[in-house]
Amino acid sequence: MSANNKRIHGGTTMLMPYTLLNDVFNFTNAFDVLFKGTSGKVSEGGPYPHVNVYEKGDIVKVRALVPGIGAESLNVEIKDNRLVIEGERKKDPETAKYLRRERGYGSFRKIVALPYPVNGETINAVLRDGILTVTLEKREDVKPRKIEIR
């Protein structure tokens, strides 16, 4: 079974068929990769879950929509200036007779590029009403420092 089969499916995250147009629209992206060495995208690793990123001074806040996922099924970590959100939404009992099925299930992984290195000790993650909020602080050694002139 390929990794794709494990991705969350159904709901708003249906897989799109590949078309040549995708590459045409990704043209600017290709330029970013060539000249900046990054994809220029804020997030990667699949469309689910949707995230918003807020930045104010030395604080970055990432909010993700993860309804139906308990804290025990979520894993948040920092890897090379990126925030990785992984988790799994469990299936409801298969034995029931479904009249309508729109909600997705399965495992997911989302990678969010952070604007600067963050302090691994002060990360704060809160799960409330199906929204995960991760608050990160800029690392001390990259904060601007005032130099005294003697």
């Binding site: 997030s43 807020y54 993860v66 139906g68 729109e102 604007p115 199906g130």
Partner: protein, 125 residues
Amino acid sequence: MNTERENVYNNERENSRCVITPGTDIFETEGEYVIKADVPGLQKENVDITIDNGVLELKGKIDVENETHDLRAEEFRLHDYYRRFTVGDDIDTGAVKAHMENGVLTLVLPKKEEVKPRKIEVLAH
């Protein structure tokens, strides 16, 4: 002072009252129907569910403003939730239960006693 982006956003918000149709699963067991809807960001006290004339209406009010000020990347916005379903007359409307957990609303609609499957004993003569 508002930025251009915020002005555009605020106008958009005033002109169109956006409503989200929550993704929903409905399944049936022997004794009940279960409706599960994804409503992230919705608080328990802002949920309004009515069943009237065979129509179940689900309303959820989001009372927090979408933060726009320090936004760097936006993949979602929160809006009020609304969805309606037609329900059969085999439901015991007085016994419907609802609960919220992790941004998922679960409604349990028990079937009326007389429509539940009943096992008939075969009597030996």
